[in-house]
């Protein structure tokens, strides 16, 4: 009879207890991986966004605009291939103001070609008469391009709101007052998850005409570079160009721009980390308690085994492996459950985050933590078992 089958027999002795302990480890590791998954998702959203594109915003903060007149000068900077611009609209659903989604006004003629590789138009209204489409734009967008108040919406938003193509969607403006109505002319799928599928895009020109009295006020510029290697140089040129103007600029890669939003979470990631540790520690106590109970019950049995010639080291291993199997099994189950259940649900915190991802690194760390938990919870009972003197073990009456 080898050591391993002995361990299995021991595990099966009190099935209820083994199952309960296993389940508590499953729960703990599920939670641990889910919490770390939030951090993974935040970390992943730092890495999205292109490094071949720059974002230029007002140096003070994003709420201050830039003049439209910057566009021509930005376009003339060496290394800049094309320039587009957009504004945050900040509208609310007039029926249910709590039902939040983002709306952006963009210069579609330049914006769509820049993001051509990131989005794919999966459904669009087509008109009876063929309409001309500007160069570089998906022909499916013909209707959208030809209508002043048309909009494109993300697939996941489209499904969530149960919209239909051609539907007129009312939006009440918080920054640009009044009720605005946009006609849905196309639905996009984000090939790059960074782009998100929870937004509505409409024509900047419409915003300018209706909301700014024809003024050219731009939220931010997007600069497409010919060569990403020139990002640093272009950044410095742009910011130096406007350093002493009425609206100084702050330019960074799109990736850094996205990372800026993640950094706004402040201490939240730290708090999530602390909770993760507390969860692991709480379940460590449960596991340690179980192992102690299990060995205490078997004191007399250990005495018999020692009498029969089992070495101290063997008993040490016996207890430790038993603890290890419970936590390793439970940990693996919990970590995998977190990965597949949470990723499968595509939970995105109501659009605040990109769909949750749990990296394999997190799964591996989770399993590692579980094994460590097994070792820690098993070490004292294992030592007790190995140091037990036969006389004491056999004398002890339970």
């Amino acid at each position: 009879m080898n050591l391993f089958s002995l361990v299995l027999v021991n595990l099966g002795r009190n099935k209820l207890r083994t199952t309960l302990t296993l389940m508590s480890v499953v729960v703990a590791l599920f939670l641990f991986c889910a919490l770390r998954g939030v951090l993974d998702t935040l970390a992943a959203s730092i890495k999205v966004g292109s490094e071949a594109r720059l974002v230029t915003r007002n140096a003070i903060s994003l709420i201050f605009p830039l003049p439209l007149s910057y566009r021509e000068r930005l376009l003339a900077i060496p290394g800049v291939k094309s320039v587009s611009y957009a504004n945050w609209f900040g509208g609310r659903d007039p029926v249910d103001p709590g039902n939040f989604y983002a709306q952006f006004a963009c210069d579609a003629e330049t914006y769509m070609p820049i993001y051509d590789a990131d989005v794919e138009i999966i459904a669009a209204d087509s008109s009876a008469v063929p309409l001309p489409v500007p160069a570089g734009i998906d022909p499916k967008l013909a209707m959208f391009m030809s209508e002043r108040d048309a909009c494109i919406v993300g697939q996941s938003l489209f499904k969530r709101m149960k919209w239909k193509l051609g539907q007129k969607v009312p939006v009440s403006g918080t920054i640009f007052p009044g009720t605005w109505t946009f006609t849905i002319r196309a639905v996009y799928h984000a090939k790059d998850p960074a782009f998100g599928e929870e937004s509505m895009l409409f024509h900047w020109k419409y915003l300018s005409e209706k909301g700014m009295g024809g003024q050219g006020i731009v939220g931010w510029y997007v600069l497409q570079l010919g060569d990403p290697g020139r990002a640093g140089e272009v950044t410095r040129t742009v910011d130096a160009l406007y350093a002493n103007s009425g609206a100084a600029t702050h330019t960074e890669t799109e990736r850094a721009f996205q990372a800026g939003f993640v950094s706004m979470y402040g201490n939240v990631p730290f708090l999530i980390g602390v909770i993760g540790i507390a969860v692991v520690f709480a379940i460590l106590l449960v596991a340690a308690n179980t192992m102690m109970m299990a060995t205490r019950e078997r004191t007399a049995e250990f005495g018999v085994m020692k009498t029969l010639g089992f070495a101290d080291a063997t008993l040490f291993r016996l207890v430790l492996i038993e603890a290890g199997i419970i936590t390793f099994g439970g940990g693996t189950l919990g970590a995998l459950l977190a990965k597949f259940a949470i990723e499968g649900s595509r939970f995105n915190a109501g659009g605040f985050l990109p769909p949750m991802t749990i990296s394999w690194t997190t799964v591996a760390i989770g399993i590692g933590v579980a094994v460590l938990m097994g070792a820690t919870s098993g070490i004292i009972p294992a030592l007790q078992a190995s140091r037990l003197r036969i006389v004491d073990a056999l004398r002890r009456v339970e």
């Binding site: 918080t174 449960v286 308690n289």
Partner: protein, 389 residues
């Protein structure tokens, strides 16, 4: 007849390590719950206490934060001249038209940057906020490029120390003082003189909000109706307190829901642990149970007794959990309030309600975890118990 509780108490102390492990496990779960509630309460308090019940705030119709609002100078003058507005000792109406903008500042101690609220006020602005006190340095001098920074923010953001310069709109603003604002939302702001800040930031056209002190608070509803119907203004009116609590609602809900969600999952694990302990206790005491049955205690009394013991262990955990959570009270932390897009620094607030929730939760854990083991204890047959012994 019920088994005396002293029997359970002695039993609990009979197995100190096992009890301790279970208690600590439950304590951690309760601590997380109480902590999450403390976070939500602190966040909410930071915003709700910003508002004084006598003040009302006027914003543009449809605006859902101060930064997206705009009130023209004409409208601000109409509001200031309202007869419902209280008049100060100097004869000027207690009304403050304010500019509110965000500046992006690098964080200290942690990478990245975030948006800090800058509020431009005039002399009346301070009279309306009694809770604001300069605790270090001095008040800014009106008409100069000086600002004061909330002490909580000064620790968290670059260039906010006294003597430092904050640069925006091609101008350097000297930080001359740090202030506290009684744990309110103003504790996350930078204040300066409207007359200087507005031209510097190209915001001369419009204010963001107007705050008024009412002569008679019972007139609020009527005044709200009158102003919101006035076509010259195009505004919405809220009590200051109502407005700031609206601003905190979303985030506080997210924190509470998140906290409860995490605790519930943790609770499942803790319940399994408690069940283990109680099952072991029942098994160990097979003989004792037999004796109790022989003495004439009913099975129900025995079930009840084990249930009491389980709840007792859990409650000790609950109390320990509250004690673990207590030291976080007052620790400041900060995050972005997505409703206003700006950084809010706030202190954890361990409230009696939060602790009560934690204790009730602990008792529930004990009850659920102890239920099956207690049932087993009560159902034990006398013959079998004595034989097992």
């Amino acid at each position: 007849m019920a088994i005396p509780i002293s029997y359970n108490l002695r039993n609990v102390t009979q197995r100190p390590w096992s009890t301790l492990a279970t208690t600590l496990g439950i304590a951690l779960v309760v601590a997380i719950l109480v902590g999450a509630f403390a976070l939500a309460s602190g966040f909410q308090a930071a915003l709700v206490e910003t508002g004084s019940p006598e003040n009302l705030i006027v914003l543009r119709t449809g605006a859902d934060s101060e930064i997206s609002s705009g009130i023209s100078r004409d409208a601000a003058n109409i509001l200031r001249a309202l007869p419902e507005v209280q008049v100060g000792a100097d004869g000027r109406p207690l009304a403050s038209a304010e500019m509110v903008v965000l500046i992006n500042q690098p964080r200290l101690g942690q990478g990245g940057s975030s948006n800090v609220t800058v509020r431009g006020i005039d002399a009346e602005g301070l009279k309306l906020r009694n809770q604001v006190k300069v605790v270090e340095g001095r008040m800014f001098t009106p008409g100069t490029d000086e600002v004061i920074v909330a002490r909580r923010m000064a620790r968290r953001f670059a260039s906010c120390g006294i003597g430092d310069k904050l640069r925006f709109g091609q101008r350097d603003f000297a930080v001359v003082g740090h202030f506290t604002a009684g744990g309110s939302g103003f504790d996350s702001e930078v204040w300066g003189d409207n007359a200087v800040l507005m031209p510097a930031l190209n915001r001369e056209g419009a204010f963001q909000s107007v705050t008024l002190r009412m002569r008679d608070t019972t007139r609020f509803a009527a005044l709200e109706k009158q102003l919101e119907a006035d076509p010259r203004l195009g505004v919405q009116v809220r009590t200051e307190r109502g407005w700031y609590s609206e601003q905190s609602a979303l985030m506080a809900t997210i924190i509470r829901v998140g906290g409860v969600f995490i605790t519930l999952i943790m609770a499942v694990g803790a319940i399994f642990g408690a069940m283990n302990t109680m099952f072991a206790a029942v098994k160990q005491r097979t003989r004792e149970i037999a004796v109790l049955l022989t003495l004439g205690f009913t099975p129900t009394a025995i079930t009840l007794s084990f249930l009491v013991e389980s709840v007792l262990i859990a409650m000790i955990g609950g109390v320990a959990g509250c004690l673990i959570a207590l030291p976080i009270n007052g620790i400041t932390t900060s995050t972005t309030n997505w409703s206003s897009f700006s950084e809010v620094a706030f202190a954890f607030r361990v409230t009696p309600v939060g602790m009560a929730v934690g204790l009730v939760f602990a008792a529930a854990l004990g009850l659920v975890g102890g239920f099956l083991p207690a049932l087993r204890a009560g159902r034990q047959s006398l013959a079998a118990s004595l034989r097992a012994a």
